[in-house]
Amino acid sequence: MKDFFSELLKDIKKNKGAFAGLLLILIFILLAIFAPLLSVYAPDQVIEGALRLPPNSHFQNYYFIFGTDDIGRDLFTRLLYGSRISLLVGLSVVVLAASLGTSLGLISGYFGGWTDRIISRAMDFIMALPSVLFAIVIVAVLGPGLMNAIVAVSIVALPNFVRLIRAQVLAEKNKQYVQAAQLYGASHLRILFKEILPNCMAPLIVQGSLGFSDGILNCAALGFLGLGAQAPTPEWGTMLSDARSFLESSPWMVNLPGLCILTVVLSFNLLGDGLRDALDPRLKNRS
């Protein structure tokens, strides 16, 4: 496993795009962790009178590098704390969808028959609806809020993982090492998680990286529609939506959260693309 990751890191270093993506992600992670140290303000701290100040402004004894919003909160601080939310959202979506999706995919592919048919049909239902529409339906039932948005987006991301793992299991389950384990008397659970799963890691890592970006983007979209995180949570999509009416007079309030979303999503996509190139044997041999 250690060799696998050091090999992977070497491949990523060779791919400029993926390397840039990885660096940007690391920067965002550091910003998110050290947010309280990097800013003197709290994300919901209102500085009276400092309304919609443009970036790089001084006000009394305060300095605002990215300006302030419509009720006088420091935008830099809110964006910093927003990176915590976005990364956590991405992580939760990937962990939820990947763990549930992997289990379902393993079961579905390994046991086949009716179990497989039921799981596959359920995934078809989810795939039949456009992602945001399906998430909207779930949020309509659960009610708006960040947690519910995460649940909705994870459910939408589920079929990608299930299908991927199922296909992988179908390819692996008739191989000799699996038969050997079966003959040896290993339990189904052991065969699934100890034998087959490690051989599904490569596509799972790629899908995980791409799932991160989808999760962040979809949650931000729900936030923008007023169905995700609610004010005053400094979630980028919600911040952008709240700032819409100030587009003309204070464009930075809209553009900075937008740029943050774009950068994070792009970084994960760059990394995901690079990982796919590195891990897909077909692509690897071609180059």
């Binding site: 039949a128 983007l217 923008f224 937008g258 979303i261």
Partner: protein
């Protein structure tokens, strides 16, 4: 072939029933009393309440209710909006052409740019040009389109004043709607005689920004797909043969490669349909475009559950049917699969 088709039809009907069931459950899972949700009133007197409950069939077992719901949907009754008190189907019909018009122009925009970009990137593989195009395409793919729309409005509508901010046509033109597509309706003879081509250009100018926004992600996806599809085809033996015969590069690219590279591109284009609806929800919200995307969003914010239920059902049925047609189109386009099925 017959077996394949009947299997496909069975599969689709299964999915349709499943989606109908999800939509049916929707109103029953929402916190709150379904009777009050469907009637849209807060405080009803007990007699009226019992009457409404019986009328809606909510006093029966759930499976009977589902049976009744299917019957009701099959007869074209999708429920009544709580806010406007008109039937959901009527509301849908009024808004659907707006979304179709926007999606069509957006996909046209996406295809017109994506295919040349993808082909050029493939031909100039690993040059600065290729990196630039594929970098832009990945950026487009990662774009939060709700922000992208606002950036374009800020630049082209607010700063430069080139395009209108919202709506489908300038308010001074009141054109009679025949098809619901403003691009066609504004070209009717009586409109042209009265106003000339001005209403048409107004409709065009209103479409520019929303279709760029809605077309951005399909453009990015298709450009990447076109590039990889072309690279694959350009590596085939018959292309080497064509080159060895001394054919011009133009002939090799346009005649020999293009047709074969087209199959995955067409499928991608068709599969963009689902993401177009997702995009339409966001795009229509930004540009106040009176289509079905905005309709769903407003019905969520006004807690108009019958509209959400009916609306989601119609949209999913349309998507399921389109995707099935795409599958069949794919088989038609790809002779290898077709022959395998005909055997």
């Amino acid at each position: 072939m017959f077996l394949f088709l009947s299997k496909k039809i069975l599969e689709v009907s299964f999915t349709l029933v499943g989606i109908t069931f999800i939509c049916f459950l929707l109103l029953r899972l929402v916190p709150g009393d379904p009777v009050l949700l469907m009637i849209g009133e807060r405080n009803m007197d007990p007699v009226a309440y019992a009457e409404a409950k019986q009328k809606l069939g909510l006093d029966k077992p759930v499976l009977v209710q589902f049976g009744k719901y299917i019957e009701q949907v099959a007869s074209g009754d999708l429920g009544t909006s709580v806010t406007s008190k008109t039937s959901v189907w009527t509301e849908f019909k009024e808004r659907f052409p707006a979304t179709v018009e926007l999606s069509f122009v957006a996909l046209l925009f996406a295809t017109l740019f994506a295919i040349p970009f993808g082909v050029l990137a493939a031909l100039k593989k690993n040059t600065f040009f290729d990196y630039f195009l594929m970098g832009s395409s990945l950026t487009g793919y990662s774009m939060p389109i709700f922000w992208w729309g606002l950036v374009l409005i800020l630049l082209f509508s607010v700063k430069l004043g080139w395009t209108p901010v919202s709506g489908r046509i300038a308010v001074e033109y009141d054109i009679p709607l025949k098809t619901g597509f403003y691009l066609l309706d504004s070209l009717q003879r009586d409109v042209r005689e009265a106003e000339g081509l001005k209403p048409f250009w107004s409709a065009v100018s209103h479409l520019i920004l929303p279709s760029i926004v809605l077309g951005t992600i399909p453009l990015a996806v298709m450009a990447r797909m076109t590039r990889s599809s072309f690279l694959e085809v350009l590596g085939e033996d018959y292309i080497r043969t064509a080159r060895a015969k001394g054919l011009s590069e133009y002939r090799v690219v346009l005649i020999h490669s293009f047709r074969n590279a087209l199959i995955p591109i067409v499928t991608t284009l068709a599969l963009c349909f689902g993401s177009i609806i997702t995009g339409a929800i966001l795009t229509e919200t930004i540009f106040s475009w009176p289509g079905i995307g905005r309709w769903i969003v407003t019905s969520i914010t006004s807690r108009d559950y019958p509209t959400i239920q009916g609306g989601v059902l119609i949209i999913s049925v349309i998507i399921i049917i389109t995707n099935t047609l795409v599958d069949l189109l794919y088989i038609y386009l790809n002779p290898r699969i077709k022959n395998a099925l005909l055997k």
